[in-house]
Amino acid sequence: MTRFVLTRLAQSLVALAILSVVVFVLARATGDPLHLILPMSATEEDYANARRYLGLDRSYPEQYVTFVARAVTGDFGTSLRARRPVSELIAARLPNSLKLGAFAMGVSLLLAFPLGVMAAVHKGTVVDRAAQVIAVLGQSLPTFWVAIVLIEVVAGRLQWLPAGGVDGITSYILPGFTLGWFVVAGMMRLLRSGMLEVLDSEYVKLARVKGVVEARVVWLHALKNALIPVVTFAGIYFSILVTTAIVVETVFAWPGLGRLAYEAITSRDFPVIQAVVLTTAAIVAVVNLSVDCVYGFIDPRIRYAR
């Protein structure tokens, strides 16, 4: 188990290192940021000065080494647009994103578990079909459209909830639901197929034969087994949440990393882009590692391996 987790940790670090190169290269491949920063009237000399000031005149390897050396200490340089340390921007936005992400994950779990389990238990019935429709809609309706409709109806016409911004728990509901609903389908389908397989197993049959009450058979004996594939994919769902958050945060004016990424991309603010991508990747890596630990906790065959 320890070895399993250590291996995964090493893999995550390698992945982060590769990602840092990719991000570094891509940020510089999208065009010269100085065109956006400097006024139209800027002269060649202004460009040269700005380039020297920002360290953009040095060779790419040099820039990369400097970038990594600073990034490790949390210094991602200065935002080209905001002219403030990138770390400050991240620090201001990160908590909002984490809170929204956790809320959305909660929403999706709260929807996916009952839907997936009930769909499997009532396979082929109206319950099953309804559950699948609810789940699939969340995935196939464009996120921005869901967001706009919710803002229009729930926030606008009904005036039940705020349309955007962070202002108390009520402001989490619309963006959290929009974001969470998107990943319900995948999780629900995994749970459903997992449950179907497990409900057909000999050990579930034996649990019933022993006289275990049906609710316990389903929600304990069967679900703990059906959880294994879901947990395997939890990391992936989280990554999807992170990506989708860019859209959701932008539409709901949510001051999180997603919107910061959107703003940074549109203004080619690449110190910020780099920082956002790497921070997000680090969070995803941490989540994946925790998932691996949870996995071992659920499945003793992994826990006791080696």
């Binding site: 197993s201 050990y203 034996l206 034969v209």
Partner: protein
């Protein structure tokens, strides 16, 4: 009074191809300390019969549509779901076809062994622990306290079956149903497991239903045997008598194809003809298309169950009191007389 008295049990399956009468009027009794063997080709309805007794036939497809299942005189088909839950595992225990995969891989042996003890006997804490330890010890598991902490994948196959056996007798129950408990095991382990089951049965005076493919096993562990074909019991009676002089052509065919003891070959394939399609049974006797002694009336009318000797029944026109268009009378029958049973 028999411990278990099954009368005219009928379980139907609603499938895409129509209604399958998986259990079609099955009756038998099992006494205390007695073992009834239930034999028949795969698909003949043996498992469905066993599951119906526990009211666990797979839903929504399966439905028990008639009959009685009397446990010590009490009809289980009239019990509520809650009442059944208290009967399963406590009064009637069952060992499934594949004991190796009947243990839940993500829960400890301790959790799985303790569960029925806590549920049915309200044991908690130390008492629960020591009862679980005793139970494992009673099926011959060494260092039982340590085993309680283990997970199924850490135990050997033989050990796992013993755990399943331990859970089955934890109450101890009145009835033990073993549905082909040794099919997936190799021969030496098979013999050990049979000995264990037999010993547990005798110790607790269990009424046991032993489902098997293997007539060799029937000869060793069963007192009486019921032969199933297409959802019906076609012949039943004491093991020695049926082995010596089978009344039904199907039983006869089974016995002729039985391998020597220790031979692991499946005898089922040795019978000529296709197993019946339960969704499209012929009119008359279901075995008629494969029967070597078939007569005209067999293809028209289903034979009634008739008494063919002391505690013996058969469902065959050959066993019915002489009838005019009888062509094949030279068959070795037990006692071919006896009126049709009501």
């Amino acid at each position: 009074m028999p411990v278990l008295d099954v009368r005219d049990l009928r379980t139907h399956l609603i499938t895409r191809w129509g209604t399958v009468k998986a259990v079609d009027g099955v009756s038998f009794t099992v006494d205390e300390g007695e073992t009834l063997g239930l034999v028949g080709e795969s698909g003949s309805g043996k498992s469905m019969t066993c599951l119906s007794i526990l009211r666990l036939a797979p839903r929504p497809a399966a439905r028990i549509v008639g009959g009685e299942v009397r446990l010590d005189g009490d009809d289980l088909l009239r019990k509520t779901g809650r009442e059944m839950q208290r009967i399963r595992g406590k009064k009637i225990a069952m060992i499934l076809q594949d004991p190796m995969s009947s243990l839940n891989p993500v829960f400890s042996i301790g959790m799985q062994v303790k569960e029925p003890l806590a549920m049915h006997h309200g044991l908690r804490g130390r008492a629960l622990f020591s009862r679980a330890v005793d139970l494992l010890a009673s099926v011959g598991i060494s260092s039982p306290a340590d085993r309680l902490l283990a997970f199924p994948h850490q135990l050997s196959g033989g050990m796992r079956q013993r755990v399943v056996g331990a859970m089955a007798i934890s109450a101890p129950p009145r009835v033990l149903i073993a549905d082909e408990p040794t099919t997936s095991l190799d021969v030496t382990i098979q013999a050990q497991y049979l000995r264990l089951l037999k010993e547990l049965q005798q110790r607790h005076r269990l009424a046991m239903i032993f489902v098997t493919h293997n007539l060799g096993i029937v000869a060793r562990v069963c007192d009486r045997v019921a032969v199933m074909y297409a959802g019906r019991i076609v012949e039943a009676g004491p093991v020695e008598q049926i082995f010596r002089a089978p009344a039904h052509p199907y039983t006869k065919a089974l016995l002729e194809s039985v391998p020597r003891l220790g031979d692991t070959r499946e005898w089922l394939t040795a019978i000529d003809g296709q197993p019946p399609d339960l969704a499209a049974l012929p009119p008359g006797c279901a075995f008629a298309p494969r029967c070597t002694s078939v007569m005209e009336r067999c293809r028209v009318d289903a034979p009634p169950e008739v008494i063919v000797g002391e505690g013996r029944t058969s469902r065959c026109w050959l066993s019915v009191a002489p009838s005019p268009p009888r062509r094949d009378a030279g068959l070795a029958l037990g006692s071919s007389d006896g009126p049709p049973r009501a």
